[in-house]
């Protein structure tokens, strides 16, 4: 060997040694890193558990009216399926007519204060009213029944992984055996990678000319799902194999299997991914794992290969075919007997409708998140599996969404000038719905399209309320007598003529709508017709500071300047504030705290928080009743009377609101049990040119008609100390038989008029009869 050859040999040897040692060093470092990654995941197998938001539960009681179509729709959304025979398993129901009977096998549900075990119930109807409820198993009579809340949406980061983590011991052996048989039959023989399977897959793939079979072990699949994506590269495959080897070296087969059973992806319900065998059993069969039949178990195992393509929701035929393949494998491996096999083949797989969780209340959920963020970080909300129970009524929410969107569209059709160019300048609106006695926010629509704008006008938009503010002026007036001021009653005569209010060296002249003045009118008529001039006079007599205080007392939180124009609603408030203030009137003078979050539970079912109903009596029930009675007139005779013509006939009170410059249109209205505020306008404060009665009232009317349909008709109940007398609306005195129109007016006892109507006196012949 000459010198130069020896030199080349030496250099090559050094280079080889260098490359080998570098490779070993790098390899060790790389392995250490992979091992750390695997260990971290196994030691703390933390799957992100999305927070879940639930609607309010639904209470059924003897006497309640149920519209069966709507109720069946609710059952469907809750995952109940209609059967032709009496329900035998949870989640089934049957409805029979003549006599009308609904049988439901209730689901299990963990409520915040108790875990409920589902049982069959039988609900009998008389007409649309529930006449009897009984336990279907025992025949015992029940008087009320709670139907579980609906899942509104999940709170998650990037993807919604729906999963219930189970221990290996909780998974029936047949489920495990079936999965191993079809996915990795040599699981207990290999050490993470299985050369036999790889060679077999290679052979099959070469023969078929494409990739038709994988050789991945269950451990490799787990590593892929845990750490790696779906990319089909050699690098990924090697990494997957290395990790599988590490996992098998460090952990037992049982630990690997348990992680696999919880990790595996098994289907999709809208934005909700179904992960793990427990969740899959619920999703496909509405059953716990230990109740699965042999056929269902086989299908569950078979779905792992292609959960969406083989899903029975998509194709029953494909699912049955796949199930049968697995069953054949199970009988071949002697995991099931031939008899079990034949019985499983006969199992009928029913086509089921896939009910997706669509989040029909995005504005409500945003509002809720904002409230929750005070106590919970985003990570906790999206990954800790919190269950959040709310006051939301999904049925009402859907009605609110629909009526607002349809109402705004109709307005644009009727008034083409409302169609503006550009997204920032489209006609907008908002609805908020409250239950006055509890303060629960039942529905909230913060704008026309959540996709286009997430700005929630219900609580983020401060707008002038216009005449919606007037009831606070009149309430201050009615209360003024008892507080040492000038005394007002519903029949106090007011001057409705042009006038100028001097204050602080300035002058303010309120004008009526269309510059129309009515001379002397009763307080009732001034409110019903929303007369600016008369209202301003009342505010001046009562004192604007007192008006402001009343508004605050009822629930307005925005700062209100004590200036004369406040009487006509010149300050800025949100629709939510307006809703709270008027719900105080609807609730007989008792103010409630707006309530969305009712309970928050952690993933183990422990209650983290409960927000109770909070009440405060802020005005007397007598004053509240008189105001409600006055505001009923707005709908019956005043600016809101079109609601009656459009078919909303229930006892209800309300008030229109239009700002001076026609930028905002409002209507707030309520029955004793339900209150809704509607606002319509433009975000950029451009002119709407319509009154509250024209723009907001139609939407309110439509909403209330649909939301209250089938519910009992209730009226405001006069509290003790109220006297109701018939009054002539023109004279404001006691009505005579000759008065053409009569109003049932409410007074504090002793304040009622004693003089009969001078405009329509009784004749001498009538006197004796009248007296």
């Amino acid at each position: 060997m000459n010198k130069s050859k020896f030199r080349i040999f030496s250099i090559s040897l050094v280079a080889l040694l260098f490359v080998t040692s570098s490779g070993l060093v790098f390899g060790s470092w790389y392995l250490k890193r992979l091992e750390q990654t695997v260990t971290n995941k196994f030691e703390d197998p933390k799957w992100p558990l999305p927070g879940k938001i639930y609607s309010d539960s639904y209470l059924i009681y003897v006497g309640i009216n149920l519209r069966i179509d709507e109720f069946k729709d609710k059952l469907r959304r809750l995952g109940y399926r209609e059967t032709q025979t009496a329900p035998k398993a949870q989640g089934e129901y049957r409805y029979r007519q003549a006599p009308a009977v609904l049988q439901i096998y209730l689901h299990d549900f963990v409520y915040p204060t108790e875990a409920f075990k589902g049982f069959p119930v039988r609900i009998a109807f008389e007409g649309s009213a529930v006449s009897r409820i009984e336990n279907g198993a025992t025949g015992e009579e029940m008087f009320s029944l709670e139907l579980e809340p609906e899942l509104v949406t999940g709170l998650y980061d990037r993807t919604w992984q729906e999963r219930r983590v189970v221990k290996l011991a909780e998974v029936p052996p047949l489920v495990v055996k079936a999965i191993l048989a079809i996915e990795d039959e040599r699981f207990y023989q290999h050490h993470g990678i299985d050369p036999v399977s790889v060679l077999r897959a290679l052979w099959v793939n070469i023969r078929s000319g494409g990739v038709v079979q994988g050789g991945s072990t269950l451990t490799q699949q787990l590593m892929k799902n845990f750490f790696l994506g779906d990319e089909r590269t050699l690098k990924r495959k090697i990494k997957e194999a290395l990790m599988a080897l590490i996992a098998e070296r460090k952990y037992t087969k049982a630990e690997i299997l348990e992680n696999y059973l919880n990790e595996i992806y098994l289907g999709q319900r809208g934005s909700q991914g179904i992960y793990g065998v427990w969740e899959a059993a619920q999703f496909y069969f509405s059953k716990p794992l230990n109740e699965l039949t042999v056929g269902e178990t086989a299908l569950l195992a078979g779905l792992i290969r292609a959960p969406n393509r083989l899903s029975p929701y998509r194709s029953v035929d494909a699912a049955v075919k796949r199930r049968n393949v697995v069953l054949a494998k199970l009988v071949e491996d002697k995991i099931i007997t031939t008899r079990q096999y034949e019985a499983a083949l006969r199992e009928k797989l029913l086509r089921r409708e896939l009910i997706k969780v669509t989040n029909d209340a995005p504005f409500y959920v945003d509002f809720l998140r904002r409230e929750l963020s005070e106590n919970y970080s985003n990570t906790v909300l999206t990954a800790e599996g919190l269950r959040i129970f709310t006051s939301l009524d999904l049925q009402m929410q859907r009605i609110a969404e629909r009526t607002l969107s349809e109402g705004l569209k109709k307005l644009e059709e009727s008034y083409p000038n409302l169609r503006r160019k550009g997204e920032d300048d489209s006609l907008e609106g908002a609805i908020v719905v409250l239950r006055p006695q509890t303060g629960e926010i039942k529905a909230m629509v913060g704008g026309r399209s959540y996709q286009l704008s997430q700005f929630n006008r219900v609580f983020q938009a401060k707008r002038q309320p216009g005449s919606v503010f007037k009831p606070f002026v009149y309430l201050a007036a009615l209360m003024s007598g008892a507080e040492g001021g000038k005394k007002f009653t519903p029949v106090t005569m007011l001057d409705d003529s042009p006038f100028v209010w001097d204050y602080d060296g300035q002058q303010w002249q309120p004008g009526n709508y269309n510059d129309e003045y009515f001379g002397t009118v009763t307080l009732r008529r001034a409110l019903e017709k929303s007369l600016n001039s008369a209202t301003a006079r009342v505010a001046r007599d009562v004192g604007i500071a007192r008006v402001r205080d009343i508004a605050h007392r009822l629930g307005i939180q925005s700062s209100l300047p004590a200036v004369p124009s406040l009487a006509l609603g010149a300050a800025e408030v949100t629709p939510l504030e307006v809703a709270v203030a008027f719900s105080t009137l609807a609730n007989n003078g008792v103010r409630t705290r707006p309530l969305t979050v009712k309970q928050v539970l952690d993933a183990n079912g422990h209650m983290l928080e409960k927000r109770d109903i909070r009440v405060e009596k802020v005005i007397s029930p007598q004053m509240a009743f008189i105001m409600n009675n006055l505001l009923k007139g707005v709908l019956d005779r005043g600016t809101g009377e079109y609601a009656r013509r459009w078919g909303f006939t229930r006892p209800a009170a309300g008030k229109t609101g239009t700002t001076n410059d026609y930028k905002d249109a409002w209507f707030v209205g309520y029955t004793p049990d339900l209150l809704a505020v509607v606002w319509v306008g433009f975000d950029n404060q451009s002119k709407l040119g319509l009154s509250g009665a024209q723009a907001a009232l139609p939407i309110w009317t439509e909403f209330m008609k649909r939301a209250t349909a089938g519910t009992p008709v209730t009226d405001f109940v006069p509290p003790p100390g109220i006297k109701i007398v018939d009054i002539d609306p023109l004279s404001g005195q006691l009505a005579t038989p000759n008065c053409p129109t009569v109003v049932h007016e409410a007074f504090i006892e002793g304040d009622e008029p004693t003089v009969t109507c001078p405009l329509h006196p009784v004749s001498s012949l009538q006197v004796s009869k009248f007296e």
Partner: protein, 256 residues
């Protein structure tokens, strides 16, 4: 960068990576073949240890246990409770009841008949809402008696959703709040209950007596005493007021 250099670099890096991986696999495979190694509700506070200010609401996690939901109680099963009139203890005589200043000193009326049964208020003319609400109120009352105010509260909140005019729902909501130590909230619910009760002296006396209990818990002894006195003027047989006044007098013999 020179393309030849770049190619060489890439080739050597790849060689290094594949070499490393191969070595790692050998190590791992060799290694892997080697052998492997009840909720308990807060008791009503004792008179001596009552806080002067309202404490934060206790939120104890109630146990989540599987229970088959029971149907609402049947009418005849009305449980005896502390609302009922019982014979007066010998130490308490009506003449000892302090009179509220400015109120007429009328002779104490005889005890009112017990009107505490809510199910007895359900008659043929009762609206379905009121009937359902009363039944739920009764259920809530039983939960309160059983010492579970948290669960009772959830049940009782439904009573006013179904029928906001049901004063008894508000009364028992006030009682639940009192038992959970939220005295100010309890007082506000009592305001509402009172405004919805009309011509029902038995219940108005209950409202006053519970109001007295709340004032006592808040350390407002004078207001408490006035409320008990009011309760007894409405119903001389009101047990809560009688016992409370008796306790008050025993603890303050010198001040009277």
């Amino acid at each position: 960068m020179n393309p030849v250099f770049a190619a060489m670099n890439f080739a050597s890096t790849r060689k290094l990576f594949i070499g490393g991986l191969a070595a790692s696999m050998v190590i791992i495979f060799a290694q892997s073949c080697a052998p492997r190694p009840p909720y308990r509700p807060p008791a009503p506070p004792p008179a001596s240890a009552l806080p002067v200010t309202e404490p934060p609401a206790p939120v104890s996690p109630p146990p989540v246990q599987e229970t088959v939901r029971k149907p609402l109680p049947q009418e005849p099963k009305i449980k005896e409770q502390n609302l009922k009139s019982k014979p007066l203890p010998p130490s308490v005589a009506l003449k000892e009841v302090p009179k509220e200043p400015g109120l007429p000193t009328e002779p104490a009326p005889s005890p009112l008949p017990d009107d505490s049964s809510l199910l007895a208020k359900i008659t043929q003319g009762t609206s379905p809402q009121r009937a359902a609400s009363l039944r739920l109120t009764e259920e809530g009352r039983k939960l309160l008696d059983a010492g579970d105010p948290a669960k009772a509260l959830t049940r009782l909140e439904k009573t006013i959703v179904i029928d906001s005019t049901n004063p008894y729902g508000y009364f028992y909501l006030a009682k639940a709040q009192y038992l959970m130590g939220r005295y100010k909230q309890s007082l506000t619910f009592l305001d509402v209950a009172e405004s919805r009760l009309s011509a029902e002296p038995f219940w108005l006396a209950e409202v006053q007596a519970l109001r007295g209990e709340n004032y006592r818990a808040l350390g407002m002894a004078e207001k408490a005493e006035d409320s008990y006195a009011q309760a007894l003027r409405l119903n001389s047989g009101n047990r809560t007021a009688l016992e409370a006044l008796s306790r008050l007098h025993e603890s303050q013999p010198a001040s009277r």
